[in-house]
């Protein structure tokens, strides 16, 4: 019996910070990407916002997609051997929620850097409930792995003794093996785990806050973090009723890839329809103002955050409002961060 490879849950942040690929045995044995928290990823499953879809190369059918979660973006490549995935992706309008099961791949250009990507096996459109659930599940599992890696580093144990300790602590033998590899491969692991913990908390805070009162501390950019730190933490834990009946999960849309459409409007509705009426309905929304500015200021390469903040303040918004608006737009999948400190509408 060949055991099926588990589909690991990792955030994009961790996935793109992974650069340890290995395979045991002969050429037919599976490849694994070992992440800093020791996930031994051959397969992964994630839900995010499709923000870009490009057909690469003339003649050759190769599609590149970017799927963003609250922490970063996954690169997805579908070529001639993934015809269904290619057809599916080419029929989608950005932005929309997608759920993807796929294999971890790496690309190493000559300069020594390693880029991780995903080769899709199975895809579907999703909705905000499925995406939110994925964030919670992935945060839980990543947090557990962080704890296990920390206990591995603190234990001073090695080899079989360390494996035993990890299994005793609840790790599966595969995870224990991955953690051993991660601990010996990654330098500055402690620092990265701290960063990742912060990233997880920020991703979760996105879920607890509503549009008007975004939580502080999202790692949008350094500039934004500065703004956020100056602001008192607001404990806005607000329940969004999970909307999970089967019919709801496919909002009035055909599932045939060629017809698959998710209107941008729907995403707006998805995050707002459970909220009480807004007190300031007739005033222009800070979110919409920032969104407009982001579009106007973009000369094709995105807008630096510092410029966006300055411009927004000139239009009468406060630092807090801009900060909140950007986070909302990010979590709704309406904008993303192509480079650190730069924002762009999807």
């Amino acid at each position: 019996m060949v055991e099926r490879e588990v589909a690991w849950r990792v955030f994009a942040h961790e996935f793109i910070h992974s650069d340890y690929f290995f395979h045991d045995g002969d050429e037919f044995s599976p490849n694994y990407l070992v992440t800093p928290t020791g996930a031994r990823v051959n397969r992964l499953y994630f839900v995010g916002v499709l923000t870009e879809i490009d057909n690469l190369g003339a003649g050759e059918d190769m599609w590149r997609a970017r799927v963003s979660d609250p922490t970063g973006a996954f690169s997805v490549y579908a070529g001639q051997y993934q015809p269904q995935a290619s057809v599916f992706l080419s029929g989608l309008d950005v932005p929309c929620f997608v759920a993807i099961t796929g294999k971890a791949r790496t690309y190493e250009p000559e300069d020594g850097t390693i880029y991780t990507s995903v080769r899709p096996e199975e895809l579907n459109t999703a909705n905000d409930s499925i995406r939110d659930r994925w964030i919670v599940d992935t945060a839980r599992l990543t947090y557990e792995r962080i704890g296990l890696v920390r206990s591995a580093m603190d234990s001073g144990l090695k080899g079989d003794e360390l494996t035993d300790m990890l299994v005793q602590s609840g790790a599966s033998p595969k995870l224990a093996n991955g953690i051993l590899r991660a601990v010996s491969h990654y330098t500055d692991l402690d620092k990265y785990l701290n960063t990742l913990s912060g990233v997880i908390v920020d991703a979760l805070k996105n879920l607890t806050s509503d549009d008007q009162y975004p939580s502080p501390g999202t790692g949008i950019s350094h500039a934004m973090e500065e703004v956020a730190r100056s602001k008192p933490a607001e404990d806005m834990v607000k329940e969004t009723p999970a909307r999970y009946s089967i019919e709801d999960t496919q909002p009035a849309q055909s599932t045939e890839p060629e017809n698959a459409r998710v209107a941008g409007k729907e995403i707006d509705n998805g995050t707002t329809d459970s909220e009480p009426a807004r007190p300031e309905e007739d005033k222009p929304e800070p979110d919409e103002m920032v969104y407009e500015l982001m579009g106007i200021m973009d000369k094709g390469n995105g807008v630096p955050v510092t410029e966006l903040v300055d411009e927004s303040k000139r239009s009468g918004l406060t630092d807090e409002q801009v900060d909140g608006a950007v986070k909302t737009l990010m979590s709704e999948g309406r904008c993303y961060e192509p480079r650190i400190g730069v924002l762009r509408r999807v």
């Binding site: 099926r4 499953y45 096996e121 659930r133 964030i135 919670v136 908390v201 009946s245 089967i246």
Partner: protein, 448 residues
């Protein structure tokens, strides 16, 4: 590496001497040297020379857990855990044989002694020239007239298992084929059943047992008044045997069933009774599971899902109305879904029958036929189902089995699960920020 050859040659000569064979020392030395030059391990070289000149078989020393079917001439050292006599008819003659269980540091195995070696419970014995037979799917040690049984000082097997075997095992830890099972269970349900055996009708008790970790079916081949629903019983010397892929506790004539001092009460079994889902990495390492609850995402809908056609005679899934056994038949439509459920820690295949397919997709067989259209486009149905299900979080119950094609759970119920992401996220934030020195991975979570 230089092997000092002389002591080995002496040993061979001595061993051959016990059978009355005398061989020229020079010949032995020459042949042994030659075998060693060929890098034959010294033990193997000695064995082959003894076989060649004295027809002596040196038994191979084995641990109980290493024993495989058909091995002969083995030597084991173990403690007799349980021994019982049994009268059997061999060639129309009555004969008393001895059956029981022996343990060493690697495990426990059943044995049958075909002669009276005066063995008693607790003895530590070295058995040589024994052999292994498969009995009820597990290797069993057999020894008889040609075997040698030597009783050893019982300290020879310190600090052996006897202590460990006193500890009852939890149901979730029980493995397929295990003998000498000691466990404490609460009887959930039980019923007497009349079955026909080749020795005439016989009354057995079947039912379901539960503890804090799992539910398992049981079969008692001997009626026992203690096996009544609601009772907590301590069971010693039962054995595990799979029934339709599900590990089942078997109680035979040598099993003791007694009222347990410490009852398993409702709060102990609440997690199992309430179907709290078990994480997949904790369940896929079991040999099988009975009525378990699991939760995860549907990450792949497998080919062959949706509308299918079955042979009306044998229920096989058929293509184009041709059954490979019954030829051309008028196929009967049915529905099923096979999908991969994955929670990030483990994965298995789940099968939903027609009712549950309808429950999760809203498709009746008639509706599925409509989707397939006049030309019965089955892949259209499959694609629709994939679009509806792929990515969803689901919780389901059923029996899990392991087979050639992997791990499968046939669902008896399924539901789409809902959480409140905001509340769950807030809880997790509290846990992360609040418990910096708390070791995660052990924390109780409402998600699992």
């Amino acid at each position: 590496m230089e092997v000092k050859i002389a002591p080995h040659v002496d040993e061979i000569i001595r061993a051959l001497g016990t059978t009355g064979t005398t061989v020229n020392q020079a010949i032995i030395k020459e042949e042994l040297t030659r075998l060693l030059e060929f890098k034959v391990p010294v033990e193997e070289a000695k064995r082959s020379l003894l076989k060649k000149y004295g027809n002596i078989d040196i038994p191979s020393v084995k641990k109980l857990s290493e024993l495989g079917a058909g091995e002969r001439n083995i030597e084991v050292t173990a403690r007799i855990l349980e021994i019982n006599t049994k009268v059997v008819g061999i060639k129309e003659q009555e004969r008393t044989i001895f059956m029981g269980t022996m343990v060493d540091e690697t495990g426990a195995r059943s044995f049958t002694a075909w002669d009276d070696f005066g063995l008693e419970k607790g003895d530590v014995v070295k058995v040589t020239s024994a052999y292994v037979r498969m009995w009820q799917g597990m290797p069993e040690i057999n020894f008889g007239a040609r075997s040698k049984v030597e009783k050893l000082d019982s300290s020879a097997l310190e600090p052996l298992l006897s202590k460990d075997l006193e500890r009852p095992v939890l149901l979730a830890e029980l493995k397929e084929g295990e003998p000498a099972v000691h466990t404490i269970i609460r009887i959930m349900e039980s019923a007497q059943q009349e079955i026909n055996t080749k020795n005439g009708p016989r009354t057995i008790v079947t039912g379901t047992a539960i503890d804090s970790t799992a539910k398992l079916p049981f079969t008692s081949w001997v009626p026992s008044p203690e096996l009544t629903a609601g009772n907590t019983v301590e069971i010693k010397n039962a054995y595990m045997r799979s029934w339709q892929g599900i590990p089942t506790i078997n109680m035979g004539e040598f099993t003791s069933v007694s009222h347990s001092e410490t009852p398993i009460d409702d709060s102990d079994i609440a997690r199992v009774m309430d179907h709290v889902p078990i994480r997949l990495d904790k369940i896929t390492n079991r040999d099988g599971a009975f009525d378990v609850s699991i939760e995860g995402n549907i990450i792949s809908v497998r080919p062959g899902s949706g509308l299918i056609t079955r042979c009306p005679e044998c229920n096989r899934v058929i293509q184009k109305n041709i059954c490979r056994v019954h030829g051309l038949v008028k196929g009967r439509n049915d529905m099923r879904i096979k999908y991969i459920l994955d929670d990030g820690t483990g994965a298995l295949t789940v099968v939903l029958g027609a009712d549950l397919t309808q429950k999760v997709t809203g498709y009746s067989i008639e509706k599925a036929r409509e989707v397939a259209g006049a030309d019965m486009n089955l892949s259209a149905v499959e694609e629709k189902i994939r679009g509806k299900l792929m990515g969803l979080s689901m919780r389901m119950r059923g029996n899990m089995t392991k087979g050639e094609y992997g791990i499968t759970l046939v669902a008896s119920d399924v539901e789409v699960t809902e959480i409140k992401p905001a509340a769950a996220a807030a809880d997790l934030i509290k846990e992360i920020e609040g418990a910096i020195h708390h070791s995660p991975g052990q924390g109780d979570s409402d998600l699992w």
